[in-house]
């Protein structure tokens, strides 16, 4: 070792002593900032974004680390508001919604350009959408676009059915319903309409799988379909059949197969951002290499050293370039939390992505009020219940378990979450929550309960024990604790994916069940991909750990989890009445009535408790006080053109707990300028003003 020859003590001795001393002193730097704090002179933000990006092709990756990075490189029709993640105009200057929420017409700005100077036109969006949905590309995110008419059919390689008379069969031919079925499909009398428009606005055509094997399987299941398809010609659904259209160079139209009022909030997703056709066709899979890539966002790619850094620089061709204040961003792909906090503390990075301060550090780091961001997120933690197996098939048992955990204590223990009793995250959709309270109060009155009683679900051990007794598992006082001898503990376990954090939460919940119900459940952990498989196939008994992050800023992103017989909830729960409420909500043009339907749906699912909601996640990350315009928004997705480095310490952010109440003249000015072309957004901003949000 390196000091051996001098015969002195090995440095490790000294270091062990030093580090134990260190543990006590917390490392408070001068001026009350965490470690070295000096704004970088080169105006390049250094940001840690998580794992190495899967790809720089916006249609491919599914993770948040890539989403953040791709937001710097590509622009979409709409962009996320940096404060709320609600949609604001991007390349689309304004839009109109029609035909019962199934038609979206976007007016594009005329000065938008790719990084090579080519103009961005409606045709480029048509190409980008078609390409992203190409089954050959096999994009995992394709499901996001399945609301677009014939998108799912094209992406899943299905075929239209044309009978002998040359007429395409319609879905209504199969369902027996008359034209009424599909909304926004009134027969168009206008003879001037193009063939495409007549087709795409017409009633939904019937499709069957193109692949013979799956088609035969589908036909066997449905004799009526079989008789319809027999002898008919199959015409594969092509890219050109998608419900996207360049009406003219700067007008882009999307036609949906079902109403999706949240579409505008979905469009800033990287999957829908615009790519350059010529580059992709020329270079194939190598098009994202630094020497080939052409991008459309406020920044363009400068260097990519996998697992080390992705550096982007300001793109002078960007349509809003004069408002972009950073000269560049260096994204570091890093996942080791201790390492990133070390880099932060030594001033080597300026900001870090969410959920990165380890639980053991939160207490000491959260003291740095100008830097520690811990705000609610559009993400929840819950446990799924396998409702197909006893004793959890009894709703009373499920409710008992839901009531038996003290969620406030859990939040205090977790430090980076807040209690949750419903399935949509708390504190993120204020308009929805208000309507939900009204709907809940009404529904609860019908069953002789009240809203106060409902809110007590945060923790109600007494009621939990009563419910268990009703279900045939009486809980008896046993000394100072409780016991429930009848409960089949061998049939219920807590399954989670191997991870220290998940383990400590599971142990906390296990202790709560034991303390409040006298039931000790076994814990079981599995490696991530194994765990996913077990949970999805309902091969677990009892409870499974789960988390969900909203794809877009709307409660529907959560409620859709229980939609349909083969839903994504991993619980085995399904209910046609629930599906109908969701359908009705999606078709509803009035936002208030829509929320009412959704609240009814949420009430229904919570009454049956196929999931045990625990907590709403909080952002839990650090950023230096001189990084401005980077808000702890609900998805930690930052629109980088709003981010800037403030050199003047007097203007640095102070006490970020209240960051949403402080006005940043530059950011709000920027947003107000962008939304001026869209009346509905101006109205929304006025609402913020009335509510006194964002420092108005």
């Amino acid at each position: 070792m390196f000091l051996i020859r001098s015969g002195k003590l090995h440095p490790v001795y000294a270091l062990v002593v030093l580090s134990s001393l260190l543990a006590g002193c917390g490392g408070v730097a001068s001026e009350g900032f965490y470690g070295k704090t000096a704004a970088p002179g080169d105006n390049v933000l250094r940001y840690i974004t998580g794992s190495e990006p899967e790809s720089l092709d916006p249609a491919v990756p599914t993770g948040q680390p890539e989403a953040r990075l791709l937001m710097s490189l590509y622009d979409g029709l709409t962009e996320y508001d940096p404060r709320t993640m609600q949609p604001i105009p991007g390349i689309a200057e304004s839009w109109e919604v029609g035909q019962e929420n199934t038609e979206y017409v976007f007016k594009l700005r005329k000065n938008a350009k790719f990084s090579n100077g080519d103009p961005i036109k409606a045709q480029d969006f048509v190409y980008s959408f078609r390409r992203a949905l190409d089954p050959e590309l096999a994009a995992k995110n394709a499901y996001l676009a399945h609301y677009i008419k014939y998108a799912e059919e094209y992406n899943s390689m299905r075929s239209f059915v044309r009978d002998k008379s040359g007429r395409f069969l319609l879905e209504s031919d199969l369902n027996g319903e008359k034209q009424e079925a599909a909304p926004g499909t009134q027969p168009q009398a206008d003879a001037n309409l193009s063939e495409f428009r007549k087709f795409i606005d017409g009633p939904m055509r019937l499709t069957v799988p193109s692949d013979e094997k799956s088609r035969n399987a589908a036909l066997e299941k449905n004799p009526k379909l079989k008789s319809l398809v027999e002898g008919a010609e199959l015409v594969p659904v092509k890219a050109e059949d998608l419900g996207v259209e360049a009406v003219d160079d700067y007008t882009f139209r999307i036609k949906l197969k079902q109403p999706a009022p949240f579409l505008l909030g979905l469009l800033p997703h990287q999957f829908f951002r615009v790519v350059h056709r010529g580059t992709i066709e020329k270079h194939g899979k190598d098009w994202t290499k630094p020497e080939n890539i052409v991008t459309s966002g406020p920044f363009k790619l400068k260097e990519h050293h996998p697992y080390d850094r992705v550096v982007v620089e300001k793109d002078p061709n960007y349509w809003d370039a004069e408002m972009v204040r950073l000269d560049g961003i260096a994204f570091y792909p890093l996942e080791e939390q201790t390492t990133m906090l070390n880099l932060y503390k030594t001033g080597e990075v300026d900001a870090i992505y969410n959920h990165t301060v380890p639980a053991a550090w939160v207490d000491s780091v959260s003291k740095f009020k100008d830097e520690y961001m811990n705000h609610p997120e559009v993400a929840i933690e819950y446990y799924t219940v396998n409702v197909t197996k006893p004793p959890m098939n009894d709703v009373r048992v499920r409710k008992a378990f839901a009531l038996a955990v003290d969620r406030d204590a859990m939040a205090a223990f977790r430090k980076t979450t807040q209690p949750l009793i419903d399935f949509t995250p708390e504190g993120l959709f204020p308009e929805y929550e208000q309507i939900r309270s009204e709907v809940y109060a009404r529904e609860l009155k019908k069953i002789g309960s009240s809203l106060d009683e409902w809110k007590a679900r945060k923790f109600d051990p007494e009621k939990a024990r009563k419910l268990l007794a009703e279900a045939g598992f009486p809980v008896t006082q046993n000394g100072s604790g409780w016991s429930c001898p009848n409960f089949p503990v061998d049939q219920v376990e807590i399954l989670y994916n191997t991870n220290d954090n998940n383990k400590s939460i599971a142990e906390f919940i296990q202790a709560q069940f034991k303390q409040n119900l006298g039931i000790t459940l076994q814990l079981k952990n599995q490696e991530w991909k194994t765990f996913l498989n077990t949970r999805k196939q309902l091969e677990y008994s009892g409870l499974g750990r789960a988390g969900w992050i909203g794809d877009y800023m709307d409660p529907m992103s959560f409620l859709k989890l229980f939609y349909g017989p083969n839903n994504d909830s991993s619980t085995g729960w399904t209910k046609p009445a629930y599906d109908k409420l969701i359908d009705d909500a999606n078709r509803e043009p009035d936002p208030k009535k829509r929320f009412e339907k959704m609240a009814e749906a949420e009430f229904m699912v919570m009454q049956e408790q196929p999931v045990l909601p625990w907590q709403t996640q909080k952002t839990n990350f650090l950023r230096k006080p001189y990084v401005k315009g980077l808000y702890p928004n609900p998805g930690t997705l930052h629109a980088w053109k709003f981010v800037y480095i403030e050199q003047d310490p007097a203007k640095w952010d102070r006490d970020v707990e209240t960051i949403f109440n402080v006005k940043d003249e530059w950011v709000t000015g920027h947003i107000n300028r962008l939304i001026a072309t869209q009346a509905s957004l101006v109205e929304r901003e006025e609402g913020y003003k009335t509510a006194g949000k964002f420092g108005y």
Partner: protein, 305 residues
Amino acid sequence: MIGFILRRLLIIIPMALLVVSLTWGLIRLAPGNFYSDERSLPPAIEENIKRKYGLDKPVYQQYLIMLGNVVRGDFGDSLKYQGQSVNEIIFRHLPYSATVGVLAYLLALFFGLTAGIIAALRQNSAFDYGSMATAMLGLSVPNFVLGPILVIVFSLWLFWLPPARWGGISNLILPVITLSAIYAAYIARLTRAGMLEVMRSDYIRTARAKGLDEKTVLLKHGLRGGIVPVVSFTGPALANLLAGTVVVEKVFAIPGLGNIFIQSVLNRDEPLTLGIVAFLSILIMIFNLVVDISYGFLDPRIRYE
């Protein structure tokens, strides 16, 4: 000698294929796949992916296709990092691991050999006890403890050195020291034991009897025999170091091969895992061969059959 080398080289090919086949089987036995995620995919999208990557073919066909690719030395593209070939990834990240690994091993050799030789020559002296106790400590303090301690002192306290990431020479200092500690300790102990044994042997007595000066006895005759254990340790150790060391790469955020190897398994990135496994197994076999050959130069008593 040449026959020996050729035979050993020829064995490498079937051995590597065997290792790759076993690894392939293990990957296939592990549940889940590269596209599974919290959000389960609609069946049609899953079909698209399976078709794209040939996972819809019968398993034996997939195995044969894989084997054919391996024989041609082409592992195809990574499943996770689209558009990047496995060979490209391996050779892009090998230099990072190799730089840190080779520097760490040179450092370890320097301190390990020096300490080992002096300790052997001054057996039972204070230096001997001190250095061997230190070596024991070096062996028992794992690098995931040593690394963070060095970072705390030199980066977070003194602000002398960067705590992580690739960059200049200053970025290399802490990871290289962290990585070398355990090897230096091991080499010191091996050298000391080897030297003690050799210095008592008959041919050293003969050399001294011939009237050679102590320096020549030690360096020309003693050392050559004394470091044979170190040389046999060097083969596998260097292969390990070149392949990357997961812990040090993670702690110091070095874009090396070790970290990528572990990630590829967790991601179920089959081609990448197979590529790295094949590469590593060949590397280890070649290093072992080199070590075996070098014995002949160090110890004239060893002959190749």
